[in-house]
């Protein structure tokens, strides 16, 4: 299991860093006396062991990827915006009811080009998770997203969405205010947008809550992200009345990036550093940036009608 491997890798990371620091701050006198000689082989052994462990991460199971997709250390929407975009101007509220912080959105520049960026916001620690409702939006979140997208269409801005949610929030108020209607409206409206829409599945994409931001011309997916009709736990509990069989569900559901690319749902898989995106954000951003630019350039060549047509066809052919 990747969980155990990562645990050991993280322990090694800590040990290696500690050893390096100890080495760096060592009194030069020690070096002269040959005192640090005892540490060096240790360091090498540890690094070798770490490389060996990370090399085991090349062939991950679907359950491993689900674990990585939910890893607390994965980059979050604010980091994507900060690194990939400039001049971000946040837009809040759905103009009807309230501001839903589970979705972050606004205008930004991508390589100088004004775009609209929208994404699920999970937060990267427990306090933030609670504030952002673990990235589970209510209808207000989807309506805000739609407002921003219609505005993007009006001003001819491409739309880039980032998907990372365990699902739309199943709460009382969410139902009262029409969670289903809000998602349905987004699906319908997004399908007809006359500007390029690119979705990036960055973590877990579960159910209609993910799709509500995901009707795109091109879908990019990080190597260890997952995208499915429901969480594996929910899937197992519905089909087998036993949520503990989620591991088994992961293997059946074909929810990994490579599965989805084979099925023609995802256009490109963005490679992640060995052991997952949480280990090296920078490497991930470099790969994603290149892909994003490529896809955006490609889509920007199409006219409004052609874009809507391409998007319609993409979804039209999924299934029978």
């Amino acid at each position: 299991m990747i969980k155990d491997i990562l645990k050991e890798v993280e322990d090694l990371d800590a040990a290696i860093n500690a050893a390096r620091e100890a080495g760096a701050t060592d009194d030069p006198a020690d070096a002269l006396l040959g005192n640090d000689g005892a540490d060096t082989p240790d360091l090498e052994v540890m690094e070798a062991r770490r490389t060996e462990l990370l090399n085991q991460c090349t062939d991950l199971t679907a359950a491993d990827r689900v674990f990585l997709a939910r890893h607390q250390g994965r980059p979050r929407i604010d980091e994507y915006i900060n690194v990939l975009f400039t001049d971000f101007f946040e837009q809040r509220g759905d103009r009807q009811c309230r501001e839903d912080p589970s979705i972050l959105g606004g205008i930004a520049r991508y390589k100088g080009l004004p775009v609209t960026v929208i994404g699920h916001r999970k937060g990267s620690n427990t306090e933030e998770n609670i504030r952002y409702n673990f990235g589970m939006p209510g209808p207000e979140g989807y309506r805000k997203a739609l407002r921003l997208m219609k505005q993007a269409e009006k001003f001819g801005r491409p739309i880039i969405t980032f998907i990372d949610t365990p699902g739309a929030y199943p709460g009382k108020e969410a139902e009262e205010r029409g969670q289903g209607e809000a998602i349905a409206r987004n699906l319908a409206e997004m399908s007809g947008l006359t500007v390029p829409v690119i979705s990036v599945v960055t973590g877990e994409g579960s159910s209609g809550g993910a799709l509500g931001l995901g009707v795109a011309n091109h879908i990019l997916m990080l190597e260890n992200a997952v995208y499915s009709v429901l969480s594996p736990e929910g899937f197992a509990s519905i089909l087998w009345k036993d949520s503990s069989r989620s591991g088994e569900a992961c293997e059946i559901m074909k929810l990994t990036a490579h599965d989805l690319q084979q099925d023609g749902i995802v256009e490109e898989v963005i490679p992640e550093p060995l052991g997952g995106a949480q280990r090296d954000h920078k490497a991930l951003f470099t790969a994603l940036d290149a892909a994003l630019q490529r896809h955006l350039t490609q889509l920007c060549k199409l006219g409004g009608k052609a874009l809507a047509e391409q998007r319609y066809k993409k979804y039209r052919q999924i299934g029978l």
């Binding site: 709460g171 139902e175 349905a184 007809g192 009707v215 499915s228 059946i252 999924i318």
Partner: protein, 294 residues
Amino acid sequence: MDVGKIFAVGSRERTFQLKARRDAGLDSPRWQPPHYFTCKKCERRATRQTWASTLYVCPNCGHHQPIGGYYRLSMVLDHGSFRELDAELQSKNVLDFPGYDEKLEAQRAKTGLADAVVTATGKVGGVPVVAAVLDSRFFMGSMGTAVGEKITRAVEFAAKKDLPLIIFSASGGARMQEGIFSLMQMAKTSAAIQRFQAKGGLYISYLTHPTTGGVTASFASLGDITLAEPGALIGFAGPRVIEQTIGQKLPQGFQRAEYLLDHGFVDQVVPRSEMKATLTRILKLHTQGRKHGA
């Protein structure tokens, strides 16, 4: 249903009426001992014949029982106008889900349906329409690739022929056994509806018990006119999931048709006995005297 009518027209109508009678539990030609059917709400029982005469609305408490697809169409469509679309289309085991093929077979044998939706053209009060009915007996009316494709084809057909569209929803949501493909049907059907409506098409969404999950979050919520059957459960998340999430009991009547009416998501709650008359009225409001600007 009028038995005399069955033999008045051709074999297509005869087959359709027989399917409707089977849905209504009246398919046996021979006399049988009275077959009792118990109301799921008040638990009073009555014979199948009594139930059929009240359109499967409980004669005691007025509870609307879920009914089969052909049976519902037989209530709505004018006699002799039924033409089924894509009758043969069936789901495939796209995920190689263990046991799914067998289950599909069993559901087909049990219900006589190819999948969980019947799509057809016909006339309602003389107005030609395209109609789709989800059948909750088949895998809880869940939307897999076949349902998504049939709905989409029906919508596209309505768009092409410039006909009004009526969809009767009854569904537990996306079909889990078809995984991500089921999820994508939400986008596919919604996109088709969007195009149809942008072209000026009229879409009446009729929500029946139960309409939840991925169907609520796609075509069922996109009607120009949204009607609901009394007492129907309509929502995105199921009540049990919500109770588990928020850790408290939900109020009486939560997510029922009347509740949605109060919260602004339904135009009218229409009892089954008035279903056809109401649909006819709406259709005529859209087709007759539409000179201005048309």
